[in-house]
Subunit: 235 residues, 2 copies
Amino acid sequence: MEISKKSFKPAYYQVAEAISSKIKNGELKPGSMIPSEAQLCAQYKVSKMTVRRGLSILIEAGYLQSSQGKGTFVSRPNLEEMVVNFSLAGKLTSKLLSVEVIPAPESIARKLGIDRGSKVIYTKRLLFYENEPIIYDQKYLPYVKGKPILEADIEYAELPEMVEKHIDILPIRSELVIKARALNKEEARVLEEEEGKAVLLLEQTVYSQNNKPVGCGQAICHSDRYTLKAVSHPF
Amino acid sequence: MEISKKSFKPAYYQVAEAISSKIKNGELKPGSMIPSEAQLCAQYKVSKMTVRRGLSILIEAGYLQSSQGKGTFVSRPNLEEMVVNFSLAGKLTSKLLSVEVIPAPESIARKLGIDRGSKVIYTKRLLFYENEPIIYDQKYLPYVKGKPILEADIEYAELPEMVEKHIDILPIRSELVIKARALNKEEARVLEEEEGKAVLLLEQTVYSQNNKPVGCGQAICHSDRYTLKAVSHPF
DNA sequence: AAGTGGTCTAGACCACGAC
DNA sequence: TCGTGGTCTAGACCACTTC
């Protein structure tokens, strides 16, 4: 009825488009039930697997919700779950300020689940955009004896990459806590900004397979020059 | 070979688990190619569609990457894309401070793509956690004549919901800009906090089908009592 | 030509909900 | 019992990459 087999778009995608456009233009309203899979198969002349694959796209995007035995229903698109792309690098240039092996401060030891005073690698980086300092980035990871650290590897590396290289563990999960805070004296000096200025603070922790923290870091972001953006999961 | 048909977990899920555990324990290393779909079918004694469905889970989570004609390869899990659940409500209680129809201030008119001075609905809310004010929430949406606003609807409504009810447009996309800022006098009074204190500022804009902005808002978050959390897309 | 991933089918069977 | 979504199959065909 509606699906063109000659199109470059696959059939399942066309099904998703057809239904989502009916939602967007109001033909299908939130709360209402859409035609059953069997009906959609007949209507679009495609197989059940194809219909289901199309629907699954819209389900994931939050446009639809289905429950076994009842049917598939239109829901409001999920605009509360948003994706933030937390990549400090990209267009920024990077300058490595220092790399040290130090005894873990209390707060870091707690975060990493290690003994206070255990040795950790502590790196400081400054990230620039067009020669202006934007982000002051500090990372901590457990120090493993006999694993030398190459400064060249650190300058542009993100936390997960450093963990993989220097602890030889593949991080598989990451958490980010987003806060606001006032700049302290040292941070202000590094970021060329006034002390006490409000800045974004991004605290990242990465975890290994066993849910053990294997690295953490904080990024202090000059708030006039950098903002985080998040977007709802689109279709 | 590995898949139990009696398990409560569907076969495709077991395939995903089997492969992801091989990645996590290092048996399959980033960069390396995994067995072809045909081989996996033979190994696990399941059909191609089932294998592919399992793989697609890991592809979406960033563990795998496949390219037509070449193969499917292990990649580092994507830890840069993180999901932040931006729901102000939930366990918070809400108090509506005011609802007004006002001429749009310059900044809001620009955000909403309307003429400066056009009428907008302006709502102010205060959100509490255990009787402490946490978030000062302000919203703006175009005023539509003849669409009365029920205060009861606003007290707990989020922006997309308000837009849907009062402009009769279903918002399908949302953007969030996350900043840090110092509290001004009015905000400090409302949040019972000192003026100049650093706070998180969440600026949300919601869009209609045609990518037209149909509402915006800002949430000022008491930073000692509230932090945003984001997590990497897990499997 | 051979091997890879990508799409699609027609139908089977199951689990669940409403009647 | 019937209609719904959820899983799975065996095989077909296509598009792309490599040799």
